[in-house]
Assembly symmetry: C2
Homo-oligomer: 180 residues x 2
């Protein structure tokens, strides 16, 4: 009984894994073309062995300048960031980098669809928060306001993402409601 529950709930997999599985399903069923961007890496040294593949022997992680995911859905550009928190009562804005906020603002200005997927692991809930709302909370913080978004506020301002076995984070359902 416990096993079944685990199989059909969000618990156990990371938000990113769940999104990747979902994107794979969207891709195979021709619903959307959305990919995770590769981790940006600064390559310093590469070794080229004679009879095998090139080996990168020195590289460093670079700060990502944009968001985690982007792609196309019904002709529109989709761009989003995914964040998990163990916090029960709020989402700490320290989780987000300023360059990500700047990128989101630019995507909005260019009329792209832009949002954040937030998972509260303690509640086993994932929400879609429109980037415009996120920017309001961010700007309040910048002008001396709260350093986090209260859970109740997110519950009110966001779309709860339904869970399906093959679409573990079925965010397109929320995208349809909010943007189409």
């Amino acid at each position: 009984r416990k096993k079944d529950n685990r199989m059909f709930s969000n618990r156990g997999m990371s938000l990113e894994d769940d999104i990747n599985v979902t994107n794979e399903f969207y891709l195979e069923t021709n619903q959307a073309v959305i990919h995770k961007k590769p981790t940006p890496v600064q390559i310093v040294n590469v070794h080229y062995p004679k009879r095998s593949a090139a080996v990168i022997t020195e590289a460093y992680f670079k700060q990502a300048s944009t968001t985690d995911y982007n792609g196309v859905y019904k002709g529109k550009h989709i761009d989003f960031e995914a964040k998990e928190t163990k916090n029960k009562t709020s989402f700490p804005l320290a989780n987000i980098h300023e360059h990500q906020i700047n990128h989101m603002q630019k995507v909005i200005d260019q009329q792209g669809i832009c949002f954040m997927l937030i998972r509260f692991t303690a509640h086993d809930e994932t929400y879609l928060l429109d980037a415009r709302a996120l920017l309001i909370f961010w700007n309040l913080k910048q002008s001396g306001g709260k350093k986090s978004i209260p859970y109740d506020m997110i519950k009110n301002q966001s779309q709860l993402i339904p869970f399906h076995y093959q679409k573990r984070v079925d965010y397109l359902t929320a995208v349809d409601k909010l943007y189409f």
Copy 2:
């Protein structure tokens, strides 16, 4: 005199460098948000020194599963691949991987704007070829036809990209003509 010519022509910089400079200009002037995707790397070993940044000590290049660039322009999703050839009379289709073709087909199906930027270095010319046209040539090749696209055909079927000092590959001019 020679120096001036070099400064104001395409010669000397790679197509990718030119596109990156152009995208930077588009970004700063709020015309579009288009980025090069990071090179996908399979990270095998990471060393965490005590007082400095993590060092990747073993990693391998992964085959890219999509195209080089994507982003948003006037709300629409833009997706493209960039290719250079030294060939004077044709563009060899062997330059393109099948998974890139599959990706382009999926982007088109999802109503995204999809194309290839082709530079003939010998002619110092860069063309925008719509992905639908590229797919025709690709499918002809697959069914036993030509293994390359003749230069004259590209000249006829594509948009020549204008060159500007700050917009070294001003492809949005061609995008406006073709898709808006």
